[in-house]
Symmetry: C2
Subunit: 299 residues, 2 copies
Amino acid sequence: MILKALGEDRLLGQLLPRLPLAKSVPVGAGDDCALVKPPAGGNLLVLKTDCLVEGIHFLSRTAPQDVGWKAMMRPLSDFAATSALPQFALITLIASKETEAEWVKRLYGGLCRAAKRFKVSIVGGETSSTRGPIAISVSVVGFVEKDRWASRRGGKDGDDLFVTGRLGGASRAKHLRFMPRIAESRWLTKNFPVHAMMDLSDGLGVDLPRLARASKVGFSVEMENLPLTRGTKIDNAISEGEDYELLFAISPRQSKRLQKDWRRKFPKLLLTRIGKLNSKFEIRNSKFSRGYVHFQQSS
Amino acid sequence: MILKALGEDRLLGQLLPRLPLAKSVPVGAGDDCALVKPPAGGNLLVLKTDCLVEGIHFLSRTAPQDVGWKAMMRPLSDFAATSALPQFALITLIASKETEAEWVKRLYGGLCRAAKRFKVSIVGGETSSTRGPIAISVSVVGFVEKDRWASRRGGKDGDDLFVTGRLGGASRAKHLRFMPRIAESRWLTKNFPVHAMMDLSDGLGVDLPRLARASKVGFSVEMENLPLTRGTKIDNAISEGEDYELLFAISPRQSKRLQKDWRRKFPKLLLTRIGKLNSKFEIRNSKFSRGYVHFQQSS
C-alpha cells in the first residue's frame, strides 16, 4: 500500500506505538510538542540536526533499514565528536505520496534499532509530502558534563593527532552500517585531556583543515601512517568521506599512556597517530581540502 | 551566484555571523554539535520539529523572506499550543546546487527575523544538496513549567471550546505572515486552568477531531458562531487549514471571566466560543475531517 492510500494519521498510528521511549519522556510523539525531562544541573544541553537525501546520501535501491540506521547514526556521530550522550530524537520524513508504506515502516525499523543501540527515545517528528526525492532529517538532543565537552577548537601547537579505526572505502558499505564512536569518546574525555575532537564525515582532507582552522593552528600528516581500509588507497582515506571515525588532538605527553590504555580498553579498534598540529596556520598538502563538500564544484 | 559556485563553507561563513544568539549558548553553529544551557530545575524541555517543502508549503515564486518566516513560525506555533517558551533552533536546508545564494540569504533573513521576534537563538543546522525541490526543516528546543504545559489531552465533557482570531482565507497571504499565539497562550495558562489546547494548522475540521480523540470525548460546533475571515465561507474556516490560531477547551465556569479579561488584555484579537466538548465520542458532522491531510487522497 502506498502512503496516499494509507493516510498520515493511520501511518502514524502504526509507527508511534513502536518507537523507543524512556521514562524521562512525559509526552512523546503525537502531540504538538514533545516534553522531556531536562538534564541534571551541571550539564549542558547538546543539540544536533542532520539529514539524508535520496540520490545524494543513499540510492533508491538502498535497503530502507540501512537508510534509517544511517539517518540516526550520523547525528549520533556528532555526539561522539562532542563527547556527549544522546537522549531524544525528532524525525522529519519528506516523501512522495507514492512511497510504499512498507518502505517507511522498514525505514523506521532502522531508525528505532539505531536509537535503541544508544538508548535514545524517538519523541516526535513530522511527515510531509513532496514531488521530489525522499529526505529524512533527524534532530537529536542530549547532554554533556560542563567540564567534559569536546569541540573543534582548542587544538594546540605540538599536539599529536589521532584517528580511530580505518579510513577510506566507506562508499562500499561502511557508510550505511557504521557505529558512532560514543563509547570511545566518552572513555577518552573521562581519562584524558582531549584538546580538540571531531568526527570524520566529509573526509580527512576536508575535516582536518576545519579542525585546524577552528583551533587556529596548522597541521602535518604522515601519509605513510594513515590507517587504510583493506583494498583502499591514500586518496580514498583522504577524500572519500563518511568514515565516521574520531579525529582528535592531545598533548604528546599523553600519547604513550593513551595508546597503551586504548589497546587494553578497545582491543578490536585501531588507534593511530597520524600527525601533529603545528603553529603554521596554512595548508600545504594539496590533497587536503579534497573531501566531499556539499554545493562545491568539483575541481 | 549559485550555491555550487559559492561552496558550503563560504555560504556558512556568510550566514553564521548574522544568526541571533543569546548568552545561554556556549557553542553555537559551526561545530559538530551546539551546546546550550539547560532550563532551570522544575521546568520540562520542549522539543518540536517541522518542515516546509517547495511546491507543497510554498511556491518557487514565494518571497524567500516569507518562506523563512513561515519555516520558523510553524514550530513556534506548536510551542504556543503547548504554552511553552522557545529558546533554540536548528535549521536544515536541502537545496539544489543551482539555487541562488541570494535566495538562501533572504531565506535566512526571514528565519532570523522570526527567531528574534521570540528571542530564539539559531544555534546550528545542516545543509545538503538535492536534485529535487527545496526543503527547510526547523527543530526548536525550549521549556515549560511542570505545572503549566498544555496538550491535546485533558479536554472534559462539558468544556467550552474557544478559538483565537479568525479562521479561513489563509491561502491568500496569512499562511506566510502569521504570528504564533505564544503571548496569548502563556497568558492563558498563567490565569486559567486550560484543559486541552492545540494550534490550528490543518484546519478545524481535522484538528478539532484530533483534540477530541486525544481527550477521549466528542464535540459539537455552532457553525453560525465560527469567526470567519472577511470574504471567506464556513467551508474555508473548516477545511482550508494554516490558520495558526489556538483552539482550547476550558470549564464553562471560567468562560465569562475569560472573555472579559481577554478583551482587556488582547483588545485587537478576537476570542470566540465555537462549541462544546461532550461525552459522545463520535464525529457527526461530515464537514469535519476535511482539513488538509498529508498523503491522504482527496475525496
